[in-house]
């Protein structure tokens, strides 16, 4: 099902394409086409864009950035971003971290690894966070933890449901224990929001690992996942090194977690907005901008 009205082109589309092109097989000369990392077949970039960045041949979900996700899930022109300006400092004076932050800002066109704000999904008012993989692999330092905590606190104050899209390599080691503490801090914010009877829905995307898996990613009332997303506490390489054996195919993929009972459903991008909308309706989340006047 295609609904063109669902997305608006990201402002930084050109840059985004440029980045993607660099990462693709250099043997493919044209930015008109991209090869699918799963089935290796070529697709027109325009076809991919019109298909939620999902391979039309095999259904592989290409990695996309947070702004693209927002455009896919939020009703047009309803997103109001909060705390966009927050950026990290190198409080522990960790060697090389300043440079990494500067590179990540350039590379991602974002100030940090998560975007937070409010918006509407099928007219239902929600607060949400969307993590950004191109900013240091969505790793969680103090700013990421703080932004997620702030949006949970905002949602609690305004009695809004929370929607969270996760993608992360885990806690950001350059911030030492202050990064680890964000797992406790965000979990506290989730707990308070939950205790007030409010809905928290997570969508786990590829890859969600480490300290994010072991905190707010797994704390949703409802946990959805994108097809084939890697969802892990310890990454596959760490496990292979620890136990010195190869891991079975499909291990730690969304389908495996569904089978083991750790996610509620696997939802392809084409029906993601519809699914979230239905879940919001089923929880009696009000429509329109009248309530609380916060949007």
């Amino acid at each position: 099902m295609l609904n063109k009205g669902l997305f608006k082109k990201p402002k930084n589309e050109l840059e985004a394409q440029h980045r993607i092109k660099r990462k693709t097989d250099p043997a493919i000369p044209s930015e008109l086409c991209r090869s699918c990392p799963s089935c290796k077949q070529l697709s027109f970039t325009s076809d991919l864009e019109n298909n939620f960045h999902v391979c039309p041949k095999c259904g592989h979900h290409f990695r996309i950035n947070a702004r693209q996700r927002l455009n896919m899930i939020i009703d047009q022109d309803t997103f109001v971003e909060q705390y966009h300006e927050l950026s990290s400092t190198n409080r522990l004076e960790f060697p090389g971290y300043d440079e990494k932050l500067a590179q990540a800002t350039l590379f991602s066109h974002e100030n940090e690894g998560v975007i937070i704000g409010t918006g509407k999904i099928g007219s239902h008012k929600v607060a949400l966070f969307v993590m950004e993989a191109t900013f240091m692999m969505g790793s969680m330092g103090q700013v990421v933890g703080e932004k997620i905590t702030l949006i949970f606190e905002y949602a609690l104050k305004h009695r809004l449901p929370m929607i969270g899209y996760t993608v992360s390599g885990g806690a950001r080691m350059q911030e030492g224990m202050l990064a680890l503490m964000q797992m406790a801090k965000t979990s506290g914010a989730v707990k308070r929001h939950s205790d007030a009877g409010l809905l928290y829905l997570t969508v786990l995307t590829d890859p969600t690992t480490g300290g994010v898996t072991a905190s707010f990613a797994m704390e949703g009332d409802i946990i959805l996942a994108e097809p084939e997303a890697l969802i892990a506490f310890a990454g596959p390489r760490v496990i292979e090194q620890t136990i010195r054996q190869r891991l079975p195919k499909g291990f730690q993929r969304a389908e495996f977690l569904l089978e083991k009972g750790f996610v509620d459903a696997i939802v392809p991008r084409s029906i993601q907005k519809e699914t979230v909308k239905r879940l919001l309706t089923l929880h009696g989340i009000p429509k329109g901008g009248d309530q609380n006047g916060s949007i």
Binding site: Y83, L86, S88, T89, L92, F94, P95, G96, G141, Q142, V143, G145, E146, T149, L150, A171, M173, Q174, E175, G176, M177, L178, A179, L180, M181, Q182, M183, A184, K185, S187, G188, V190, K191, R192, S194, D195, G210, G211, T213, A214, S215, F216, A217, M218, E219, I231, A232, F233, A234, V238, I239, T242, I243, L247, F251, Q252, K260, G261, F262
Partner: protein
């Protein structure tokens, strides 16, 4: 002392383990097993004991002492059932209004097929969230190695204390060196950068108190802990539930709070 020396001391095989602390801090200790779901995790000891005249719930990570017991204890690395067992005991502590002591000593939550299959991430996440809301006093003490999320899963407390030669880190210095610098020889440098010593963490307010090891005379350590725990629990038991959980929330809320990151 350089950070890596502390790492070596924290991991030293002769260092007292969770069971030693239990034996020396509490009387009438009874171990209670199992997560009521999957199994019993020997890397995590849970039970009840008397802290002087005060019944308390005790949760302790245990590395083992001999080669045989270390294997049995999985070197102190818990599976999800260890964390679930701990939470089960904490919930019972809440029901019966007992304070909770957590003794942290692990290189990390176990990384393996079974651990992932049974939801290691979920088990830790659930502990963090539930501990935040527990209506009884909780005190966590890092007695040896505090390895990342697997340590934090027992570390959401009203106060967190650390022994002088204990370490507490977001990642092991070895892991940090190999991931960031692809160079295992930089482990010592990584240990320095990670700010994992008790003194570093006191300065960062990650821990509230350092327990001096008095040249590794643990008799004094146990004595100081016993009195300290008792006083802390007495003080926190006087708080009502809301004050207590608010205080705990704010304790963790302060790390990277917007006022500190926009300075």
């Amino acid at each position: 002392m350089e950070a890596y020396k502390r790492v070596a001391l924290a991991r030293k095989k002769t260092r007292p383990t969770g069971q030693d602390f239990i034996d020396n801090l509490f009387t009438d200790f009874i171990e209670l097993h199992g997560d009521r779901c999957f199994g019993d995790d020997p890397a995590m000891i849970t039970g009840l004991g008397m802290l002087m005249d005060m019944p308390v719930t005790v949760i302790a990570q245990e590395r083992g002492k001999t080669t045989k017991s270390r294997v049995k204890r999985n070197f102190g690395s818990s599976h999800p059932e260890g964390y679930r067992k701990a939470l089960r005991q904490m919930k019972l502590a809440e029901k019966f209004n007992r304070p909770i002591v957590c003794l942290i000593d692990t290189s990390g939550a176990f990384c393996g097929i079974g651990a992932e299959e049974r939801g290691q991430g979920h088990a830790i996440a659930n502990n963090l969230m539930e501990m935040m809301g527990l209506k009884v006093p909780i005190l966590s003490i890092v007695i040896g190695e505090g390895g990342s999320g697997g340590a934090l899963a027992l570390g959401v407390a009203d106060e967190v204390w650390m022994l002088e030669n204990a370490i507490y880190s977001v990642i092991s210095p070895e892991g940090c060196a190999s991931i960031l610098w692809k160079d295992a020889s930089k482990t010592k440098e990584a240990a320095n950068c990670l700010k994992l010593t008790a003194q570093n963490l006191l300065e960062l307010q990650v821990v509230d108190k350092i327990i001096s090891e008095n040249h590794r005379d643990f008799k004094n350590v146990y004595r100081e802990l016993k009195i300290g725990l008792y006083k802390c629990f007495q003080k926190n038991q006087a708080l009502d539930h809301q004050q207590l959980t608010e205080y705990r929330y704010q304790r963790f809320r302060k790390y990277g709070a917007i006022e500190t990151i926009t300075e």
